[in-house]
């Protein structure tokens, strides 16, 4: 009898198994390349806004001769003020970049929080079904039936009114945190429903039955068998959801429930300058609008591409 060694393949961890599952990108689509590079540039600007030399003049009000000279600009873009300036003479480009920092942080933090919470609840509802499902479904329905503006009033208007929030490790503006909480609460239910539906169908698959037959615990099945198969859909939803949240933040800013100065978001800037549209303030509205639109578009393009690559149809918000 020959010495056969039965090689037991070691289980790859979740990340490598996911990476292996990504089909190779045969053709980089033009739109995708454009979107990714736009997002990369924007993120770079936002992250390094404090140190980049050309975004200095943030929130600087011009004085004396400078102010008189700016009055003749009437807010038009120039080699010095790339995006022009608003009625107070502030540099729209610098403000837009700082607003990108705030807007992207708000969107990213809310979508990550919503994916973690909604994903967990959705998995529990879809896997255990029965009473878990019933109770969680009622919670999701309640969240969906809650008018967003009432939620914003309660959360931002009361609990995170003003001042600083100290969470021990890090400190941040209270209202800023409140906006993140509102957007997270708004997006938990739709995300959880997508995850629930996917988990429901995944938990009927043969490999899950096999794992259960081999005596795997529920948590092991959820984490090792179901979660890796959910990740592509969640990944795609993360981008589309981010786009939706950026729009939602703009709406909140319009109603006065978003961040406060000196930290504008794009929605805030649009709302701030729209009353001056007739007084030559067009550029101060135009550039935040363009940035907001392009960013939402870019995230939608990326989300759409990811969804097509993994052949996901359910992952639309």
């Amino acid at each position: 009898m020959s010495d056969t060694v039965i090689e037991i393949p070691s289980r790859p961890n979740i990340i490598t198994s996911l990476v292996r599952r990504i089909p190779p990108l045969r053709k980089w689509k033009f739109g995708l390349v454009l979107s990714v590079s736009y997002i990369v540039v924007l993120t770079f600007l936002a992250v390094f806004a404090n140190v980049l030399p050309f975004v200095r003049r943030y929130n600087v009000l011009p004085k004396g001769a400078e102010a008189r000279r700016l009055a003749s600009y009437r807010g038009k873009p120039s080699s010095e003020y790339w995006f022009g300036n608003d009625k107070l003479g502030r540099d729209t480009f610098a403000r837009s970049v700082y607003a990108a920092q705030k807007t992207l942080t708000i969107g990213l933090a809310s979508i990550v929080a919503a994916l973690v919470i909604g994903g967990l609840l959705g998995m529990l509802a879809g896997y255990y079904r029965g009473w878990y499902d019933r109770v969680l479904s009622v919670i999701f329905d309640v969240l969906l039936a809650f008018p967003a503006i009432v939620l914003a009033l309660i959360v931002v208007g009361r609990f995170f009114q003003g001042g600083r929030l100290n969470l021990g490790v890090f400190e941040m503006d209270k209202r800023f945190f409140g906006v993140i909480v509102v957007l997270t609460l708004l997006s938990i239910a739709p995300l959880a429903r997508i995850v629930r539906a996917q988990t429901l169908s995944l938990s009927q698959r043969e490999y899950v039955l096999a794992a259960r037959g081999l005596g795997a615990s529920s948590w092991r099945i959820l984490v090792r068998e179901i979660l890796p198969n959910l990740l592509p859909a969640m990944f795609s939803v993360a981008f589309t959801g981010l786009a939706v949240l950026l729009v939602a933040e703009g709406g909140l800013a319009f109603l006065g429930f978003s961040v406060q100065l000196p930290f504008p978001t794009w929605g805030f800037m649009i709302n701030e300058a729209r009353s001056d549209l007739t007084k030559g303030g067009g550029w101060a509205v135009f550039f935040p609008c363009v940035l907001l639109f392009l960013t939402v578009l870019a995230f939608n393009v990326i989300g759409d591409r990811v969804a097509r690559r993994f052949d996901i149809r359910e992952a639309t918000l």
Binding site: R134, I149, F254
Partner: protein
């Protein structure tokens, strides 16, 4: 039948939870609800105490809620101190405007998206289809605040085609002025809807057009128009109908921004003003109405599914 009962029970529970949470949260958010309800002007101590007694604000939340529910049933939800009218009158005046706004935008969106989607699916991957695919993608990504600001600037401020600060004119009083007033908010809401509907219907139609009965219809020699509009469209309408219902619920809740920018006095604007002026009873009533609309529409969609597809009602009743 058990499925219907289950869903209905869930509807009631959801409605009760939403209204209860709204009440507790906004009353707890106020420093003294009785003082807010007495209004900024006539807030003598005696008056505040009278209000406190009248609305049972000295009792525990569950009891207050029970009284509120009783008032809801008898449609007597108290008075708004800031707007000087009863909540019932206010809601009665404002709700039809938002309903009409939602209705108009859905009708407009359907009128545009049906022919566009049918033609795009018919000439799949042709130039028109590609253009529409790109255009709808852009329209989905266009935030409604940007659209509203642009429409407002060009059509109201600059060219003065439509009025900006819309006033409330009923369609039966003066149809021309009425439609002028609601035109911009309607378009604001409809653009996103068109994009959603076109994408949904087009992809469903493309699937349907590949099925056997279409080949059969074509073999029989039916005209393309007849195949598209009678055979293919009818069997592709199901998910569109679902989407229409859900979007209608979304509009009722999401009309706040459109109504606020164009100053259209509907429910959204009422809720917004009430929130700003701490008009607690109006906020509660509006929230309850929005929640009721969303919950009923969800219920109707579920029932529609269950009636059409028996697998759903059995699967869910078992699960």
């Amino acid at each position: 039948m058990r499925y219907f009962a289950q869903r209905f029970l869930q509807l009631v529970v959801v409605f009760l939870i939403v209204t209860f949470v709204t009440m507790v949260a906004i009353q707890a958010a106020s420093k003294d609800p009785a003082r807010d309800l007495a209004g900024p002007l006539n807030s003598t101590e005696a008056r505040v105490e009278e209000i406190r007694k009248h609305y049972h604000l000295d009792r525990a939340y569950p009891i207050r809620y029970a009284y509120w529910l009783k008032n809801l049933v008898t449609v007597d939800l108290g008075n708004s101190p800031t707007l000087g009218a009863s909540v019932r009158t206010l809601v009665g005046q404002r709700a039809p405007i938002t309903l009409l706004l939602g209705l108009y935008s859905i009708v407009l969106a359907l009128a545009i998206s049906l022919p566009v989607a049918v033609y795009a699916a018919y000439r799949r991957d042709g130039p028109f289809d590609r253009f529409i695919s790109g255009a709808t993608f852009a329209a989905v990504s266009l935030p409604n605040i940007i659209l509203a600001v642009l429409l407002g600037y060009f059509f109201a401020t600059r060219w003065r085609i439509f009025p900006y600060a819309a006033s409330k004119i009923w369609p039966w009083d003066n149809p021309g002025e009425h439609f002028k007033n609601v035109a911009l908010p309607t378009v604001t809401l409809a653009v996103g809807l068109v994009a959603i509907f076109v994408r949904l219907l087009r992809s469903d139609l493309v699937n349907t057009l590949q099925s056997d009965f279409i080949v059969m219809a074509r073999a029989k020699g039916l005209s393309p128009a007849r195949i598209l509009w009678r055979h293919a469209l009818r069997s592709s309408l199901f998910s569109l109908m679902t989407s229409v219902a859900l979007q209608f619920g979304g509009i009722l809740g999401g009309a706040v921004v459109a109504e606020q920018i164009f100053a259209l006095p509907g429910m959204g604007l009422l809720l917004f003003q009430a929130v700003q002026q701490k008009d607690l009873l109006v906020v509660q009533a509006c929230a309850a109405l929005f929640a009721l609309a969303v919950v009923i529409i969800n219920f109707a969609v579920d029932m529609l599914y269950a009636v059409v597809d028996p697998r759903i009602r059995h699967a869910r009743a078992l699960g």
